[in-house]
Amino acid sequence: MAERAVLGVHRGRQGGAGPGAHPSIGGRRRSLADRIGERGLYLLSLAAASLSVVIAGGLVAKVLAEAWPALSAFGLDFLTTSAWDPVHGRFGAAAFLFGTAVSSFGALLIATPLSILIALFLSELSPRRSRGPIAALIELLAGIPSVILGLWGILVLGPVMRDTIEPALHDTLGSIPVLGNLFGPDYSIVGMLPAIVILTIMTVPIVSSLMREIFATVPAATKEGALALGATRWEMIRTVVLPHARPGMVGAVILGLGRAVGEAIAVTQVIGGTEGIRANLFLPSDTLASRIAGQYQGATSDLQIASIAYLGAILLALALLSNGVARLWVRDAAGAAA
């Protein structure tokens, strides 16, 4: 049962097709062609599966080998040092870890509720005829090349941020104790907040379309049952749709996180590339991926190349970690749902 919920999307569809879709062949003696086909399919899929393992393994090995000079020079201090000085050969990832965490978390903080609302609207609330066009428009956002989005970030979003949005945020939220430090009082056209906004724009199409698919797997009979028992639309969504979809929703958010953590080019353009760790969201910062994209090609020393590879290794480790956490989480949620 748990497995069925994890694979929500596919199982749900297949369930709709019914067991009649698979003609039973178990009883009959298989022909030679069938057996060769069976064997061939097995070998092909085995090769494909092992290929992905080999590629992933090779990737990890290559990144670690490239990063080795920095690993041996800085060790784990690399993670807690905030320095990036190619001229004097001092490197550390702390500021980029901070920037990556804040920008991705910030983007998901906005993108998750937005995506849930969009997906609910498209799958449950909107008139059937308008769903296709709206969904297509949202997915169109995902097709914008990130370099164009980044340029828009500097030329259009940046000035609006600095002149209107950031002062407004400072005036309304800046006086809250502790939390107010996030908002001002210095404004800038490039910085953490523009990066968060750009990442939100990039993650919403993915997360919302995944969630829409997930909501579509909720059996119509169950939803109708809830409505027939006198539930309102909202009660139906709260008691039937959301609990059924929860594991898949967590998966969708984790995929969005992957997108946000890994996005490089657009972030490089709008985040402002500095190494400081500062509370003010309006000031420039930098992320792991953005630093790799910005400096790998022009790296001036072997140690710098190794340090950039070290950043890549951290990014890989983060990807593995978030994937692992997501799997555990989805399994737990699925268990709870069952």
């Binding site: 001229v87 004097h88 030329l155 490089t268 985040i271 090609q297 022009g298 020393s301």
Partner: protein, 348 residues
């Protein structure tokens, strides 16, 4: 202007895609022809790109040889020639010792030159305000914070400078512009030299970072009070203002071709490690203080030696005639002679 930038970015993306495709073919063709008249591929500096496109069409009509060039940035050019995925690389900064070692047997020859200027955007203030190197360094060190700082107003009598905050803008990617700029600041400011130093990538203590020339121009254009370093051609085409810099002779020349040439004339010879013409001596009163050479990087041993030598000889000779119209300086005869001598090291 915004639209033009977008077009430029799209065009750059297309060029990168084309180079990538061209790289695939260059390996195949380099094994085939014995260095005859096959096509040449190069990649690197965006600074040389406008001149290169003139060279490409002119060279093709003279000799029938196609030269493909990907303006992917100096760092990318160094990377590609190191892995020999192109026939030549182009970089605005000479290779560092580590890069030279990694590239195994390459030579770098200056083949054009230009000026890096501090562009600014300051509402109500005219073009060509005056700055000195140490003041510019202090701005980028974050010690001069506003435009009406006495250090700046003193240099600009008669101009009302506002109390606007200065936002220094720098390149976050590896850049020849950054190299020329930091090379200049290191020569004129001991504080800069000790705290920051010279390089295509350095740790800027103040300001905001932007990606590529288009990023810097974009940030300067959209920020009142911003200052950013760009090549003169980029500043002219983006209709930005730029500050005049005091040279060693105490003059404030504009960054014209003559001013670039005057700086270049101070280059005595071209050592293998590259040559710096920033902060030229007072004996060159017309010289722009932040002029810089841009380099072609050639493998010493290559099956395309003959074709490469022919093309570089063209670029050093007839190719120079296009330079001035595009805002580049003219290579001094002494540098051309040194280049031609060094070019003999390239063999099959």
């Amino acid at each position: 202007m915004i639209r033009r930038r977008l077009v430029a970015v799209v065009a750059a993306a297309a060029v990168v895609a084309m180079t990538a495709a061209a790289c695939g073919t260059s390996d195949a063709s380099s094994t085939g022809s014995g260095g005859g008249s096959g096509p040449l591929t190069g990649a690197g500096s965006t600074f040389i790109a406008p001149l290169m496109s003139k060279w490409q069409s002119d060279y093709a009509s003279r000799t029938g040889v196609t030269v493909t060039y990907g303006a992917i940035g100096s760092g990318g050019g160094i990377e590609q020639i190191t892995h020999r995925t192109v026939d030549f690389g182009a970089s605005d900064a000479p290779l560092t010792p580590d890069q030279l070692k990694a590239a195994k047997g390459v030579i770098q020859l200056p083949w054009s030159l230009g000026a890096v200027v501090p562009a600014y955007n300051l509402k109500g203030v005219p073009d060509h305000i005056k700055l000195t190197g140490p003041v510019l360094a202090a701005i980028y060190l974050g010690t001069i914070k506003t435009w009406n700082d006495p250090a700046i107003t003193k240099l600009n009598p008669g101009i009302r400078l506002p109390a606007t905050k200065i936002t220094p803008v720098y390149r976050t990617d590896g850049s020849g512009d950054t190299y020329a700029f930091t090379d200049y600041l290191s020569k004129v400011s001991p504080a800069w030299k000790s705290k920051v130093g010279v390089g295509t990538q350095v740790r800027f203590p103040a300001g905001v970072g932007a990606d590529g020339s288009s990023g810097v121009a974009g940030a300067v254009t959209s920020t009142n009070g911003a200052i950013g370093y760009l090549t003169i051609a980029y500043v002219t085409s983006s209709h930005l203002h730029y500050a005049l810099l005091r040279n060693a002779a105490g003059r404030y020349p504009e960054a014209t071709v003559e001013a670039i040439n005057a700086a270049a004339a101070t280059a005595r010879s071209v050592p293998p490690g590259g040559v710096s013409i920033t902060d030229p001596p007072a004996s060159a009163p017309k010289a722009w203080p932040d002029a810089t050479f841009t380099y072609v990087i050639l493998p010493k041993k290559t099956p395309k030696a003959a074709a490469l030598k022919r093309f570089v000889n063209y670029a050093l000779g007839p190719g120079q005639s296009f330079a001035n119209d595009l805002g580049y300086g003219t290579l001094p005869p002494r540098v051309v002679a040194d280049d031609k001598r060094a070019l003999q090291q390239v063999h099959g």
